[in-house]
Amino acid sequence: MNYDVIIIGSGLSGLAAGIRLAMFEKKVLIVEKHVEVGGLNSFYTRKHRTFDVGLHAMTNYTPKGVRTSPLGKLLKQLRFKHEEFRLCPQEMSEIRFPDKSIRFTNEFEFMEQEIAEQFPSQIDGFQKLLTHIREFNELDLDDSQKISSREVLESCLTDPVLIDMLYCPIMYYGNAAEGDMDFYQFVIMFKSLFMEGFAKPIGGMPYILKLLVDKYQSLGGELRMGAGVQSIAHKDGELQSLQLENGETLVADKVISSAGIVETLRLCRPKIVAESDLEIGQMSFIESIFVLDRMPKEVGYDKSIVFYSTEPRFKYRVPKGLTDVTSGVLCCPANFQYPEAPPEGIIRVTNQANFRLWDAMARSDYRAAKKEYRERGVNALLTYFPDFSDHIIYIDSFTPKTIFKYTGHLNGAVYGSPTKIKSGRTPVKNLFICGTDQGFLGIIGATLSGISMANLHILQAEAKSEYGRI
């Protein structure tokens, strides 16, 4: 069977690329090794409850009528109406550090006011930072110069606590690297979290994914589940074929892989890159989901999302131990502006975790450690928030090991490799990447990544070179 394009992975980027290509009558196949679509933004079911993975909230929320935002562009490119995404905006979120709190909503002026009140000496510097952010074209696919965001922040702000407080949400929601972050990624995240905002779709990830899959299939796109790729064959650096784990060989003019850059290059035969040359992502997380017998607000949790640190200085790096509970993200999915309250109150807590240590554990130790670190995580929360332990009716946790098992991302690195390939090009001709390692971040970013790579590398061939620019 010959395809115009085969896409590896049915996450948001793969599905979006598939929709664009099928829309313009390309013969396209998505191969997915898992039994569910969604990749890093999927869902799972336990005891009749469906939980999203990867989704606390959708960032980049802009209301209907804003056409030039990432969400506006995505809707046009995939041809959805704004209301089809059924997005319910957040209520209020918070960055909570010892002695300091910055609250924020989807109205950016509110956050500016909070910073002016909490950090009066920093407000001029903050405005200077905003000028840098507004003037920066973070979506330029050709720009490969590296700028340290820490240097930019330190050139504008003199209070390290404010710098850490800005970094806490931004790094938790999208930084593949430890400690510092490329400025363009910082800008993408800053805009998507603070200048745009948070929302959740009614029905969560299953709903959004079904919307994309239905559109893709209605346009004639093919989707094969349980179809893992064994290898990508190339000859003299030019794509030849794909071999599936079941032994089948598939041929396509072009392949777009959302498996990750390192993961994709490792599939290539003959081997093209020494593995030591490849930078593998390290940052991973443990997340616990607590189902309560009442709504979070009734036990004193009134924010949509809280990014917290119990220490004065925030660290973003692979912890030396299994998990670092001194910082984290607390999400109450019910605290969004839903037309109807969700059936159950849920609190989710995310902490930084060490893949290597979690992966090395024996099964019985692993289960005990999950329980122990879940409890330690809750205890750390009690620094700021009331105890909800008496109201828990169901608990589930996933670790870096779980993330690797279901997504194939090495080290369970949810934000992929620290090295991003903005052009999507690989050393193999006609093999491209999209998704988290292409460098657009978040749920909307991943989707735009698929759109822009399909535009740039496939549809562009029939149009002009400007095509594909977001």
């Binding site: 313009f24 009558e25 209907k64 009528g65 056409r67 030039t68 506006g72 562009k73 809707l75 046009k76 490119q77 041809r79 959805f80 109406k81 704004h82 535009n455 549809l459 029939e462 149009a463 002009k464 400007e466 095509y467 594909g468 620019r469 977001i470």
Partner: protein, 87 residues
Amino acid sequence: MTRDQVRQAILNIISDIAPDEDLGAIKDEEKLRDQFDLDSMDFLDIVMELRKRFNLEVPEKDYQELVSMASSVEYLFPRLKDDELVS
């Protein structure tokens, strides 16, 4: 196709690529870009839809002819007059 049908064909395309827009208020003489915030990607979608629906190639040098509804009809009518209107 008549001129009116060519205009309808263009409206159909725009309503597909920008489903949130109210096209009832379209002003034929004004730039589409300004009325609907259409960017270069959207214009290429229009071009690709013309190819898909009518097998019509619009060369890059002619993209400027699609700037408004009126200029688009002017440009496309002679090229589509022998085609049937499709949705």
